[in-house]
């Protein structure tokens, strides 16, 4: 099975430009409203959800605790 990591929205225009470690990718369709700076998950070439930054940071704090 494949696994995605979240990408960061860096541009919103005709396409959504996403930043990943070491590269940028663009996606045409989003199922959610976005602003620049959001982190998102892409599945089947479509942005399907936003990632809760707070939740991600909470995991980090729990692990580092």
């Amino acid at each position: 099975m494949c696994l995605s990591v979240p990408g960061k929205v860096i541009e919103i225009g005709e396409r959504f430009v996403l930043e990943y470690p070491g590269e940028e990718r663009s996606v045409e369709i989003s199922l959610v409203d976005l602003i620049v700076g959001d982190y998102v998950i892409v599945s089947g070439g479509v942005i399907i959800s936003k990632v809760d930054e707070e939740k991600a940071v909470k995991f980090l704090e729990i692990l580092d605790d």
């Binding site: 099975m1 696994l3 990591v5 599945s43 939740k55 995991f59 980090l60 692990l63």
Partner: protein, 189 residues
């Protein structure tokens, strides 16, 4: 211990439902697969063997697992490390410095929980090796009914099965604990 096919269905369903997995499938195709898995769990109806043959073979071959539990509770940890490394183009230890990558690194492998709240459609579990991590897990219709105090496995946001009475539990718990310790050590480097 539940039927292997139910376990596979619950494992893949929870992976797809997370949004992080099955990313190469079209959304409608993924939804169709999920419906099949859910129906199989609920009433034992058609098991989507044809649909998952390739995935299942890949799963087993990747880690040379001889049974589905050895994959889910054992080899899958290495698969997650490899996939995150491939996806980010970095070695795993560097990649998880980012909280956005750490999130799937923690959530994608299975975890063991002690049930602290129980209901018919959801439970709350305390992660055995990250004591401050309490997580709500959905219970799909057709799976077991965990009670408070049970030790269970969970994948992403879903309960998988009750594991407290397994003779192999210590072996699998050790793999899970080692993985968490590996994450902690990697973060400290």
């Amino acid at each position: 211990m539940i039927d292997d096919k139910k376990l596979i269905s619950a494992f893949i369903y929870s992976a797809y439902d997370s949004g992080y997995c099955g990313i190469n499938l079209g959304l409608s195709e993924k939804q169709r697969h999920m419906e099949l898995y859910k129906n199989h769990i609920k009433d034992g109806s058609y098991f989507p063997q044809k649909e998952i043959n390739e995935t299942q073979k890949k799963m087993m071959d990747l880690v040379e697992a001889s049974n589905v539990r050895d994959y889910i509770y054992g080899g899958h940890f290495d698969v997650v490390k490899r996939r995150i490394s491939e996806e980010t183009g970095k070695d795993f230890c560097s990649a998880i410095k980012s909280p956005m990558t750490l999130l799937p690194a923690i959530s994608c492998p299975i975890a063991f929980y002690e049930v602290i709240e129980s209901g018919s459609k959801r439970i709350v579990g305390r992660n055995l090796f990250l004591g401050k991590l309490e997580k709500e897990l959905s219970v799909l219709e057709g799976l077991e009914n965990p009670k408070v105090g049970d030790i269970v496995s969970g994948h992403w946001n879903h309960f998988l099965e009750i594991v407290g009475d397994w003779k192999d539990l210590d072996k699998y718990k050790k793999i899970s604990e080692d993985y968490i310790n590996f994450l902690k050590d990697s973060r400290r480097e």
